[in-house]
Subunit: 189 residues, 2 copies
């Protein structure tokens, strides 16, 4: 199984590193201990990307990897607006919801809209992004996560947990999906 | 105000990037909009550090910056055990709880123990680390966060939120502390 985390310059740190870390835990024996094939890649247009807060990281591969992935997770952040307007970025993401599990958080949801993946569907996003979502023709639902078949959207940075768990549930089973959430839970919570 | 996030090779991604991003939001007008002086630095022994999952980032400065900071946040991760046994690492962290706000998450708490900052006090940590904590002579409390004066410990990755909010409350006020938590809350939660 290969999960591609789609990112861009100006990503929000939590929205990338929370799902990244949770996906990483799937194969970690201390956490979910999934023994099947498992690979997670951060993919971007450029080989190095910088978060909105100034953290630079190297991408593992190009955006084109997303088209061959089993699951795709689109991150969020102020940089999503520039990515949206970049035909080369959008063109690389010809995702196929009939065979791929696809998730997006907050303003990353706008990228799914642009790709036509939410046509006729509802979605959630970050509170300050609801107006943009509706202006693009998608009906908003004020929920942490909205799922339509193989496509899920999340609203509020901490909903990245629910999205990541949903993706893992489909690719590695319910036990792994639960285990990764338990591995980050507050003690005594 | 200067917050130093103390890190090391083998840090847990969520435990560094969650507080880092939350601290960043304090000065962001979209979130807390704090207008006072505000600076956040990731400090480590080496100029580049790599997380347990393989994410490499550049540190902003050396560990010695922690001694002059207003607040210090010690991250967690498998690499904490090597840091604990490294006299050069520990020696650089001569923190002063009489004038500094000090927090640590999960196995980062063991570093506070090593520094003598939890002598005679209780603390929390990650569930699998409680035995190590008690073996070092600190009584464990199974809570998300345990505060003693200027020193706080957190247990479970998501308790980084509570710790970060506690630090921000002391340095930038209660409104900012609330605002950063609200800025990452799940929609409709």
């Amino acid at each position: 199984m290969h999960i591609v985390v789609v990112a861009f310059d100006g990503f929000t740190d939590i929205d990338l590193f929370m799902p990244w870390d949770l996906f990483h835990r799937v194969k970690d024996p201390e956490y979910a201990g999934f023994t099947g094939p498992w690979r997670v890649s951060i993919c971007a247009k450029n080989s190095e990307i910088c978060s909105y807060s100034g953290v630079s990281i190297r991408a593992h591969g190009p955006l084109s990897w997303a088209r061959e992935a089993d699951a795709v997770f689109v991150v969020s952040g102020p940089g999503s607006r520039k990515a949206l307007k970049d035909p080369a970025f959008i063109e690389e993401l010809r995702l196929d919801p009939s065979r791929q599990t696809i998730a997006a958080i907050d303003s990353g949801v706008l990228i799914l809209v642009k790709l036509g993946l939410l046509d006729g569907l509802t979605a959630t996003t970050y509170p300050s992004v609801f107006a943009e979502l509706e202006a693009m023709g998608v009906k908003a639902e004020h929920k942490p996560i909205v799922v339509h078949g193989n496509v899920a959207t999340g609203g509020g940075c901490l909903a990245t947990q629910d999205l990541a768990s949903w993706v893992v549930g489909r690719l590695a089973g319910a036990a792994a999906a639960r285990a990764i959430l338990e591995s980050v839970a507050k003690v005594g919570a």
